[in-house]
């Protein structure tokens, strides 16, 4: 694929109780004392009207919220549901919830927690929310691998398997968290960055 035919048409970064979209600080939560609280406040600030949110584990909440912010700025409405792909990655898989589930086993194991003991459930939650039916993958790597995310998304876009790809990094372990999601599309958007591993990395480090 000619890399110049795809562009990063939006990105959302959530870390340290701050939500950025396309490099702009949208919101900073001064009050939350925990990740759980921060995510709830973020839900109230950016979304609401989605009671299923409260049932999710923190990884899904974080991914869901980042996708919400990303798609408000870069909606995927021009793409067929079957043509929107997701390529996500993180370090700790679903370990954060695995641990919580194990704690529930001592009493009565919770089916609602067990459901979230897979990292890719967050992909399902985003797809359910937005109706995306395209190809998807979840990689578990020690650190954000811009080259791998780029290669994987470029393949999907280049082979015609997708016309848009939401990709990036979604990590949650206890109170440590970080979300960096990109919207990559095969269309010209004024001012959009060319889709390259370098540009993914630059945004990640910004």
């Amino acid at each position: 694929m000619n890399n110049q035919t795809a562009y990063i048409t939006g990105h959302c970064v959530i870390r340290q109780q701050r939500v950025y979209c396309n490099g702009q600080l949208l919101w900073q939560d001064e009050s939350a004392a925990s990740l759980q609280e921060f995510l709830r406040n973020g839900y109230d600030r950016f979304a609401g009207q989605y009671p299923k949110f409260h049932k999710m584990d923190n990884l899904c909440k974080l991914g869901w919220l980042a996708a919400e912010v990303l798609l408000q700025a870069a909606p995927a409405v021009d793409h067929l549901p079957e043509q929107v792909a997701l390529v996500l990655s993180n370090r700790s898989a679903s370990l954060d919830t695995d641990v919580r589930y194990y704690q529930s086993v001592k009493d009565i194991p919770s089916p609602a927690l067990f459901v979230y003991t897979l990292p890719n459930i967050v992909i399902g939650e985003i797809c359910i929310r937005h109706g995306f039916k395209g190809e998807h993958a979840f990689f578990v790597n020690n650190r954000f691998d811009a080259a791998q995310v780029f290669a994987c998304a470029a393949l999907l876009l280049g082979s015609g398997a997708a016309t848009a790809c939401i990709c990036g990094w979604l990590e949650v372990m206890d109170q440590q968290y970080e979300a960096v999601l990109y919207m990559v599309e095969r269309k010209d958007v004024e001012g959009a960055l060319p889709f390259t591993a370098d540009n993914l990395q630059k945004i990640f480090e910004s």
Partner: protein, 401 residues
């Protein structure tokens, strides 16, 4: 993106055999692998049947040439990956750019469970931390890649029960994009108390042998194991000492976008995956000569899968069966194990049996094959792997001509 992707070989270890040949014999003799637990320690022993690999960790470690203290997930992986490699006749790995794409969902959970038992007895110093070093999924892949001297491209995919199939898709793309010459692709998962208890809380474990696609089905049996194929490029295929088994002619993955764990009633994601894989292979539904079903034996999966098959194939259905009625559901490994079975079905004209089938489902009366046969003409085989999060994958294998 260009060129074909060939299956040069495959290896399996699972509840019905510790190598591929043993698995074939179990199919031929109609011997499913579900039994009372022998190796996993759980309060469900004697109640929930499972399809364990019939060997303890010491025996597996000896065969894998790895230390006994590492995760069973890694031991199973190494054994099946080595079998796959040996069957390909490719010789020394150093001559090629070799990739290892391995799927799993439990990682080193078995060892973590051992650690916690000791830790909780004497916190905070009880237990040996060495046991949790390889807890995470990627670590299991790295252990095996290191032991096999594979460095060129190593990665782990974790997308629930479609993981193994997605590993083949990813591996095929590495080859078609000239990133690797040869890729060992598939998956591995050991049985753990974590998964057993988890599926038990979802109330989808059958206390008898599972009955996929049967009206009386009440759930799945868990299994364990590993399965890998060796994918090679056109150039490498031409150098093989024997003809490759078949081609990986189509693959697709789609999201059902319905529920975290349940399939949509009409099997939208299942349908999209099968349709996508067929389109990529340039085939029509009537070209498919055998379908290896996802067929877990749960009410929900089999109903949705059958409806999706009906939508795509009606009124002419190829023979189909769920090999999970023999191996149990091996989760992250299942896509890899079933890919090996499916690829071999093309090469040897095999139709695998579906054990314990008596009564067609009322809602969607598809009748699976119930006897083993080989030497059939099977030009194209479809293998389905559908998983939690709505992750639906389908692979199509085609004859070499």
């Amino acid at each position: 993106m260009s060129g074909n992707v060939w299956i040069a070989g495959g290896g399996v270890i699972c509840g019905i055999g510790t190598d591929l040949q043993a698995c074939l014999e179990a199919f031929a003799q109609m011997q499913p692998g579900m039994q009372d637990m022998q190796y996993l320690r759980s309060i469900h022993r004697g109640v929930l049947p499972v399809a364990e690999v019939k060997a303890d960790n010491a025996a597996l470690a000896a065969r894998a040439g790895m230390p006994e203290h590492i995760s069973r997930t890694a031991l199973l992986s190494k054994i099946a990956a080595e079998e796959a490699w040996a069957s390909s006749g490719l010789g020394a790995r150093a001559q090629y750019r070799v990739g290892f794409v391995s799927a799993n969902t439990v990682g080193g959970m078995d060892k973590t469970e051992e650690f916690f038992a000791s830790y909780l007895q004497h916190p905070p110093s009880g237990g040996r931390l060495q046991q949790v070093v390889h807890h995470e999924c990627g670590s299991v892949t790295e252990l095996v890649a290191d032991a096999m001297g594979i460095r060129h491209h190593v990665t782990t995919i974790s997308t629930a029960c479609s993981s193994g199939a997605n590993a083949l898709m990813y591996g095929a793309r590495l080859i078609r994009n000239n990133i690797a010459d040869v890729v060992i692709a598939g998956g591995t998962d050991a049985l753990t108390r974590f998964t057993l208890n988890g599926f038990n809380t979802l109330m989808i474990l059958d206390q008898a042998a599972c009955r996929p696609f049967d009206d009386t089905r009440t759930g799945l049996n868990l299994g364990e194991g590993a399965g890998y194929v060796v994918l090679v490029s056109d150039a490498i295929a031409a150098t093989l000492p024997q003809a490759p088994w078949c081609r990986l002619s189509g693959y697709a993955n789609a999201n059902d976008a319905y529920h975290q764990t349940a399939s949509s009633p009409e099997g939208t994601g299942n349908y999209l995956a099968m349709k996508g894989a067929l389109e990529m292979s340039g085939l029509q539904p009537e070209d498919i000569a055998y379908i290896n079903l996802h067929g877990t034996g749960t009410q929900n999966n089999d109903d949705s899968e059958a409806r999706a098959i009906q939508r795509l194939f009606a009124p002419h259905y190829p023979p189909m069966s769920s090999t999970k009625s023999f191996t149990g559901h091996t989760l992250g490994a299942s896509g890899g194990i079933e890919a090996v079975f499916a690829a071999l079905a093309v090469q040897q004209g095999i139709i695998y049996p579906n054990a314990h089938f008596t009564t067609p489902m009322k809602e969607c009366p598809l009748v699976p094959a119930t006897t083993f046969s080989s030497g059939n003409r099977i030009p194209h085989v479809m293998s389905n792997s559908f998983g939690f999060s709505g992750s639906c994958s389908c692979l199509v294998f085609s004859e070499t001509v």
